[in-house]
């Protein structure tokens, strides 16, 4: 930009700066508590309004009493004391959103946490906003591919859906979310090159109440895989004020709405809403609001429902953008009937349930296929995936039933035994290491081969190796087939014939 342009821009800007009297409402700090400040004055303040203290610390109004207000601090301040002044800003809390945020790590009020430059002024987006109404929405019909075989085949997720990831500590909840983000790379590349491909997916990872080191690891991984280029990390860690932890998911979705309103598709991960509920509980206890079940405030359901309602697929009239939400909930001892889990299950369109016994027996991702469900994603599955998903779903369901029988040690006939054996191999194919999401073509290859009996004569412990070599073989020997499976279109008879041929060829070389 040359200097003339800069000057012109400032001139333009000046014309928009309001002239005349600036009216501010002020107050005085009465008591300084743990992250909550009570102030007198501020008689014109409104609920949720942002305020600024004399030392520049920002806060948000959370309680309006007759002659005082309660303010949560949005940063750390050691110096605040009784009698300090505090001013209203006239803004309901908002975050500055722009394309510049991609690749950045910010806190819920938009301040960078990655040591990078400050984010240039973009569009201010309100943290709290009413979700789009019924007529502004349209049904979910495009797949959001996770690259994880068991999920894409059996619990498919569509753009605009809300799918809960739920399970005990350390079972790979974050892993599923991060793999899904990493998996958007291929699709985003395609979207750049071709107009016919589905739109790119902008990803937002909201970290709530986690350790700094855990978040740093996630960011590092995203950087390493190149996924950070299309990802924004909004973080409020365990050492940050609870107010920021409470606000983080709303800030994340506000940024998501910025992209959605431009017609883009957004994936947002809330990791995790259990800690979000804790943060809200802590704030409400300090504010002395009445507590209900498990000491959570009465409106914790509303806190989550108004957040998740903002995940939506907009109508074409509004640009057709979407927000897909993957909230994460941590359970205790696989108990999904606790207060927060049941709440969030009832608000989402399905859940991916991870179980510790599966994880410990080596089935990773530890998805309990029987208890997991996706209520709308089926409509969004690609034709190609649909052609193989039905078979594998059935095979896995039969396997789960037979397993129970087999435990009784009863005599099994040959047909049942072969079903059991096939089921074991399906289970094996559903195992997938972390950070290695697969393209849809490869997912289909594996699933097709196992459900059509091509792995029946492979030893269970060899299935993983078989799969790997099989993928390599087809990728080098039949690029056309991979292309045909990548279109997302229904698998035709012709393609099936080719699949058979190539698979038989490969099996001759496999030992």
């Amino acid at each position: 930009m040359n200097s003339d342009d800069i000057i012109k821009k400032i001139e333009n800007k000046l014309m928009h700066i309001e002239g005349g009297a600036k009216v501010q409402n002020i107050g005085y700090v009465e008591t300084v508590g743990d992250s909550i400040i009570v102030a007198s004055g501020l008689s014109k303040a409104v609920m949720g309004e942002e305020v600024v203290f004399a030392d520049g610390t920002r806060g948000m109004i959370l309680n309006l009493d007759e002659d005082s207000v309660s303010i949560v601090l949005l940063g750390k301040s050691a110096a605040l004391k009784e009698g300090d002044t505090v001013k209203t800003t006239g803004n309901i809390l908002q975050i500055n959103a722009s394309e510049d945020l991609l690749g950045r790590v910010v806190n819920p009020i938009g301040l960078p946490l990655d040591g990078g430059p400050t984010i240039k002024k973009g569009t201010p987006m309100l943290l709290e906003r009413i979700a789009a109404g019924v007529i502004d929405r349209q049904p979910v019909d495009t797949a959001l591919k996770t690259g994880i075989k068991v999920i894409d085949a059996i619990i498919p997720i569509g753009r605009g859906q809300r799918e809960l990831i739920i399970g005990d500590r350390g079972l790979g909840k974050t892993a599923i979310a991060i793999d899904t983000i990493i998996n958007q790379e291929e699709g985003n590349d395609k979207a750049k090159k071709s107009k016919d491909a589905p739109k790119r997916v902008v990803c937002i990872y909201v970290a709530i109440g986690q350790k700094n080191s855990t978040v740093a690891q996630v960011v590092e991984k995203l950087k390493e895989t190149g996924a950070l280029d299309y990802t924004i990390v909004v973080a409020a860690n365990a050492s940050d004020p609870v107010s920021l932890q409470y606000l983080a998911p709303y800030a994340g979705v506000a940024v998501a709405e910025y992209f959605m309103e431009k017609g883009e598709d957004v994936l947002i991960v809330y990791d995790d809403l259990t800690k979000h509920a804790w943060a809200w509980r802590q704030i409400c206890l300090v504010l002395k609001r009445p507590a209900g079940r498990e000491a959570y405030p009465g409106d914790v359901f509303y806190a989550h429902s108004r957040l998740l309602e903002r995940a939506v697929r907009l109508s074409d009239k509004l640009g057709g953008g979407s927000i897909t939400a993957l909230p994460v909930i941590e359970t205790q001892a696989d108990d999904i009937s606790a207060y927060i889990p049941t709440n969030v299950i009832s608000i989402t369109d399905g859940q991916i349930f991870l179980k510790s016994d599966l994880f410990n027996s080596g089935i990773r991702p530890a998805v309990d296929v029987g208890l997991s469900v996706s209520r709308v994603g089926g409509a969004a599955q690609t034709g190609a995936m649909k052609s193989v998903a039905g078979g594998v779903k059935l095979a896995h369901a039969q396997f789960r039933e037979l397993q129970v029988f087999a435990q009784f040690g009863s005599e099994l006939d040959a047909a049942t035994l072969s079903q059991l054996e096939r089921g074991k191999r399906v289970n094996e194919v559903f195992k997938q290491p972390q950070y290695s999401p697969l393209s849809e073509a490869l997912e289909i290859l594996s699933i097709w081969a196992v459900t059509n009996g091509f792995m029946d004569d492979v030893k269970v412990e060899d299935v993983t190796r078989f799969e790997k070599e099989y993928h390599e073989y087809v990728q080098t020997h039949d690029k056309k087939l991979i292309e045909a499976l990548s279109t997302g279109k229904k698998v035709t008879d012709e393609v099936t014939t080719q699949l058979k041929k190539v698979t038989e060829q490969f099996k001759k070389s496999f030992s």
Binding site: I6, K13, K87
Partner: protein, 120 residues
Amino acid sequence: MTKRLLQQLVLASYQKEKLNPQRVDEITNRLDRKDIKAYLRALKLMEQQKKLFVAMPKTSVYNTSKKDLEKLFPKKEIVFTEDPSLLLGVTLVDNDMVYEMNLRDQLETVLDEVDQQYSE
């Protein structure tokens, strides 16, 4: 002590819109330490509400506009401070409302705006 009672005590401390020292003494003698604190705070607030704080860059300018201000705020006691850093114009503080009508504030707004646009 209830808020209502406190409010009544504060009102009772005044006679003809002025604080009455004897009444204040009588009241404070009958209150315990904690209540005196609350009472003091309420009195301060009341006193503040009766005042209008005016800041201008020069006392001479204030003297010429004093009459107008008194007309505008007939019930207020006007407290003036000289503040050259305002450059031009005035700042009024009426209870918890602040009216910035001065050059310094305008310049600060412009600076903020430029900062946000061009910070790197």
